[in-house]
Amino acid sequence: MAHVSDFLAPAELQKISNLQVVARLVVEGFFSGLHKSPHKGFSVEFAQHRQYVQGDEIRRLDWKVFGKTDRFYIREFDEETNLRATLLLDLSGSMDYAGDGHPSKQQYATRLAAALAYLMLQQRDSVGLVTFDSMVRRFIPQRSGVGHLRALMDELHSAKPGGETALASVFRELVPRIHRRGLLIILSDCFGEVKDLVTALAQFRHARHEILLFQILDRDELTFPFKRWTKFDSLEVADQFRLIEPAQFRAAYLDNLKKFQHELVAGCRRHRIDLVPMVTDQPYADALATYLTKRLSRG
């Protein structure tokens, strides 16, 4: 059976410019596959039944228990502990790459961030946003409430990639600024020196942050499918380019990529960082599922 999320492929959603709409479509599309309504049972956690006393809200009566026992019981819920999440969105030049027919990595990351923000705010979590390239561009502290969503969406909407990648220095800069421990959701291609990056992430971990690292890559970057002579212009450094016959370098490139990935995976595993590789032609729902799994594991 067709799933709503199937139709929410990144290429389709790219046509919709309103991020909030996109976020909602993504989240609702995602949950519609799991539950009939996204508003049941997720905002609060069931705690116990208690005897009805006057003044209790009628709608909180447990009619099933009444049916069985002929007594009025009220369902009591524990208010769920607020999650403090910070979205770290990489806006370096390399994120501007877009394969044929796909959104750029930055667009993909932005939409994914919007969907995550929407979802988290819906769950009354507090969400912050940091955009950065070689330096922190914008820092929106964590807040909850639907009203905060607007601020986040505006920021995401205005985010434009540019500048060099300097994940390590940016993260080092951010460590003291995000003092309350929480969940850090990093959306980046992670291009750069792996060792420095892992060291910086380790600092977050030292500050007892949970890290969910979405490594967003384009399919082209994984397969290097170019054939004829190609001039590769750097998206980050002006006037840097390589004019090569790609076929002759494909093997070496893929080899380098494999090593890079291997180092990154090893580093993340070492520091118990959840690394989620994402490709821009992959449905956003996969990312949400990963997030929710992570969310649930926090109890």
Partner: protein, 720 residues
């Protein structure tokens, strides 16, 4: 290097195509704005050096492919130094084997036809400006046309008229003539081509000395020519030849019966169960015989005839056999004599009967005349004293006998020497009156010049004492024609005679090919020796011809012995009338006839006028055109008729060729190039003069490059 399709060399420009394609592709790149530059940079830095090398290698191979293809299609020719000097002219001497074995052949065409065609093609194929000479090898070298020149067309025209000759191929002589000829020619690039069937008789080991002599001459030339041996055709295996004619008489008088024994031999591999052999006398068939002649077999056929008239006659034995006609018949010119004039020079005359030195000899030489019998003696003697001897007395004599002559004057000696050199016979019996000093110092030769006396007289052997032991002539098998009569005991035994005194003769230390010892004494000393001198022959007997030194004259064999010795010495016909083809035919006339014309009629009936030329004391008619075998008739200005017979050498009848290994060996020892067909020669010559076409190796190189490009590409791809 030159190119047969030089215009296609333009295709070399295609070598630039891979470079252009490379540059074109490089200019038509797409631009990708790329993020993961660090991954590309690492790959680039790691592989760039190797990739550059690979690119360069592939580019070179790809550039080479169209270049080699263009070269291949332009048909390059590797040229030698001659071409580089801009000179492919050649001085070419063609030695054409026109011996009569060349008239045979295994195929439809005779070998000679193939040889003629080959010679024509070789001349046609020579570079412009070449000069040529064609020498015919049969019966000794002879130029096809006298003046060497640049007119190849004329030579080809003459070649077309040429038929196989009839003489034996004279390889050594012909090569020497070619060496002399090529030395006179114009071009620096020189070549001698021998076109031959490699018949064994002409090219066998026994001819090696002549060949090596000629090769020495060739290599000693300032510009030694290249030597090529072109083997033409295959020899025919079927040949019957009348090999020889043997006569029962050394000299023939009128009315005397002549037994002619013809030897017929089958050189081929086919049997002749009924071979007819005809005997013709003076052109008329006299008798015929039918014989069976198996392959490789030899048989003799006997015919008898007699001539009524003196003068020149001829006979012919003809076998009706194979197509190689030249040796199917053998003819001979037979001079028939009324008499043989013999001059006896008596050095010890005596008035008493049988006491003079030549008395016994005179009786022995003309017994019928002495006996007043009706039968005629063939030998007519005239006896003179030593003092009477002179040029006049020698004229018209065929044999002179010096019997116990003390010594001769220088004039007499000179006349006698001329007489012998012109073919006269001289028989010497030294005796008690002979001056040993004169004989040894003058007669035997002065100052190293050979004299008339065959051997010096050393000393007297034996003893005049009655009781002293006598020497005898050793009885043995006599190989010499003058003595072979005595191999039959019915004709008497030479050993019967007892020799009291004799001259010991000094035999030369080195063997002399002109000297023959006919018989020896029991003492070991020579009894009778013969020496050739000029065209004549001299015989020396160690003892006297009278009865003073032994009982030789009273023995029954004395008469036939003296008859045989004199007729043998008289049998030399000079100038010779039975010759090999190619030799000069000559006849002597009195000097007064000089300037008049003798007519030679050749076997095909053509008449040739020959002017008599004065030579010494006489006039000579010489005809050099005896190129075909058969009868030549000369009618002299004095009305005389002389028959000459030119015959092919029977050695040529054996058509057996050298084996391929033997041919290789001969070519190797001569430093020559052996080629077995005209095509092979032309290919070699083409390669030598115009260079060698190399499109085939280039084509292989092209295929190798194509394959190499594929392999390199795959290999490089696999390494990436």
């Amino acid at each position: 290097m030159t190119f047969l399709n030089a215009i296609l060399l333009g295709g070399l420009a295609a070598a630039a195509l891979p470079v252009l394609i490379h540059l074109f592709n490089k200019d038509r790149f797409r631009v990708v704005r790329w993020g993961a530059m660090h991954l590309i940079n690492a790959a680039f830095e790691k592989n760039q050096r190797r990739l550059n090398l690979e690119h360069l290698l592939l580019l070179l191979v790809r550039c080479a492919i169209p270049a080699v293809l263009a070269l291949c299609m332009a048909r390059p020719v590797l040229t030698g130094a001659a071409r580089l000097l801009g000179d492919d002219k050649v001085s070419l001497v063609l030695l054409l084997d026109n011996s009569y074995s060349m008239a045979s052949g295994a195929g439809a065409a005779a070998n000679f036809t193939s040889a003629r065609e080959a010679a024509t093609k070789i001349i046609e194929g020579a570079g412009r400006g070449s000069d040529f000479s064609v020498l015919l090898m049969a019966g000794g070298p002879r130029p096809l046309i006298e003046d060497t020149g640049f007119d190849g067309a004329r030579l080809i025209k003459e070649l077309a008229k040429l038929d196989a000759g009839f003489g034996k191929s004279q390889v050594g002589e012909s090569l020497e003539a070619a060496a002399a000829q090529v030395a006179r020619m114009q071009q620096q690039n020189r070549e001698i081509v021998v076109v031959t069937d490699f018949q064994k008789v002409s090219w066998g080991d026994d001819q090696a000395a002549g060949r090596s002599r000629a090769i020495e001459q060739l290599t000693a030339l300032p510009l030694p020519p290249r030597l090529s041996l072109l083997n033409i055709g295959a020899p025919g295996r079927d040949n019957v030849a009348v090999e020889s004619l043997d006569f029962s008489r050394l000299i023939l008088g009128t009315g005397q019966a002549l037994n002619v024994r013809a030897t017929v031999r089958n050189f081929g591999e086919r049997d002749y169960p009924e071979l007819r052999v005809y005997f013709r006398v003076d052109g008329r068939e006299r008798s015929a015989a039918q014989i069976q002649l198996a392959a490789g077999e030899q048989r003799q056929v006997l015919f008898t005839t007699a001539f009524d008239t003196a003068g020149s006659h001829f006979i012919e034995v003809h076998a009706d056999a194979d197509a190689l006609k030249a040796d199917n018949a053998l003819a001979a010119s037979i001079p028939v004599w009324n008499e043989i004039p013999v001059l006896l020079v008596n050095g010890d005359p005596s008035a008493e009967p049988l006491k003079g030195e030549t008395d016994f000899l005179e009786v022995a030489l003309q017994p019928f005349g002495q006996a007043r019998a009706e039968l005629a003696d063939l030998i007519k003697t005239r006896v003179i004293t030593t003092a009477e001897m002179g040029a006049a007395s020698l004229a018209q004599r065929r044999v002179v006998v010096l019997a116990n002559v003390r010594q001769l004057t220088d004039v007499q000696l000179a006349a006698l020497r001329d007489f012998v050199r012109d073919g006269g016979g001289l028989l010497i019996f030294p005796g008690s009156r002979a001056s040993t000093d004169w004989h040894n110092l003058v007669f035997a030769g002065r100052q190293g010049e050979p004299g008339l006396l065959p051997l010096q007289l050393v000393s007297l052997g034996g003893s005049p004492d009655e009781n002293a032991p006598r020497a005898r002539i050793v009885a043995e098998h006599y190989a010499h024609p003058a003595l072979e009569l005595f191999n039959d005991p019915r004709n008497g035994s030479l050993a019967d005679a007892e020799i009291k005194l004799w001259y010991k003769l000094r035999l030369p230390r080195e063997p002399d090919p002109n000297l023959t010892v006919l018989a020896k004494l029991s003492s070991g000393d020579p009894f009778l020796v013969e020496r050739r001198m000029g065209e004549g022959r001299v015989m020396l007997c160690a003892t006297a011809c009278d009865a003073d030194w032994g009982n030789l004259p009273v023995k029954p064999f004395y008469l036939p012995l003296m008859q045989r010795l004199v007729t043998y010495l008289a049998s030399t016909v000079f100038p010779p009338r039975n010759v090999e083809v190619g030799k000069t035919l000559a006849a002597f006339f009195p000097k007064s006839e000089a300037g008049r014309v003798a007519v030679f009629t050749d076997p095909s009936g053509l008449r040739h006028d020959v002017a008599l030329t004065a030579k010494g004391s006489r006039a000579v008619a010489e005809f050099t055109g005896a190129r075909q075998p058969g009868l030549y008739v000369m009618n002299g200005p004095d009305g005389s008729t002389v028959h000459f017979v030119a015959s092919t050498s029977r050695e040529e009848s054996d058509l057996k060729p050298l084996t391929p290994a033997e041919r290789e060996s001969v070519a190797k020892t001569m430093g020559a190039t052996l080629v077995n067909s005209l095509k092979e020669y032309q290919e070699r010559d083409h390669g030598r003069r115009f260079g060698r076409e190399v499109w085939k190796p280039l084509l292989w190189a092209l295929l190798a490059l194509l394959l190499g490009e594929l392999v390199l590409q795959q290999w490089f791809a696999a390494r990436r």
